[in-house]
């Protein structure tokens, strides 16, 4: 089985996270990761990136918009 290179590995990180790699690819991926500190850092950074992007989530709906939607629902009901 041919060794996976770092250049190849960085393209497969999302597929790896999603469990979408074929079994032999996954084996090559994990084998490489076990011996390559550079790729270990890269994969860790991708995890951190995902976590930081996730922090952007905000939940706020303006009371105005809520009121408008409620009104729209009432109008719809009446029809």
């Amino acid at each position: 089985m041919q060794e996976m290179t770092c250049k190849e590995l960085v393209e497969l990180v999302t597929a790896y996270f999603e469990g979408a790699l074929p079994e032999d690819e996954q084996t090559r991926f994990e084998r490489h990761l076990g011996v390559c500190p550079g790729c270990e850092t890269y994969v860790e950074q991708m995890r951190q990136t995902i976590a930081l992007v996730g922090d952007l989530r905000e939940e706020h709906v303006s009371p105005d918009a809520q009121q408008q939607l409620l009104q729209a629902f009432r109008d719809w009901k009446r029809q």
Binding site: T5, C6, K7, E8, V10, E11, V13, T14, A15, E18, A20, C36, P37, G38, C39, T41, Y42, E44, Q45, M46, Q48, T49, I50, L52, V53, G54, D55, L56, R57, E58, E59, H60, V61, A65, Q66, Q68, L69, L70, A72, F73, R74, W76, K77
Partner: protein, 235 residues
Amino acid sequence: MSDSNGAPTSQPAVSQATSPRDDPRQDERRLIASLLSGDEDAFMRLVEQYQAAMLRLAQMYVGDRAVAEEVTQEAWLSALKNLDRFEGRSSFKTWLFHILVNGAKSRSLRERRSIPFSALADPDAADSDDAPSVAPERFRPAGDTYAGGWLAFPQSWAHLPEAHVASHETRERILAAIERLPITQQSVIRLRDIEGYSAEDVCQMLRVSEANQRVLLHRARARVRQALEAYFAEE
């Protein structure tokens, strides 16, 4: 729970899928019925749940916040109008978001925003951005004994102070990086990594294949990582 190999089990012969407690389809049928009967609380709970995500998604297509609010409002109305035709082939949520995305796309075309038409017409079309996840100069060239290996390892972010990593400035950098992405990549990273939808949901909302969804998500994440790497290397 789905034991497909036909092995006999001690479970009773009643299918678990019809258990009312954990069948999401049944919950949805109940929800639709509540809406059709005019249950305001049920409607407002839905608004609570989806409105913020819908607004952000719409804004990505139309740019302007006020227009995004209109588009979102229209999507709700259209969903209500067509509620009796909702067939449950997808979840209510994906159905609702699909209505939203369609509305937002046609609105942005009407407003002639500078979004490339091809990206809107066919999200499955090859994305113009096929740059690699990491600049090729960072790897050893062909012919080298370790061709394709890192020339220099990426610098771990583990030593950075948490206050810096989680700062307002970091947030701004990430947002800016996302806004620079092609719109299909933006849609996917927002839905997956910000809103937390599953791959399956996102494929249905955006009508892209699973493989395509993954490629778009990967490119988007790789760009954001690059932006963070550049930012964290600044000081």
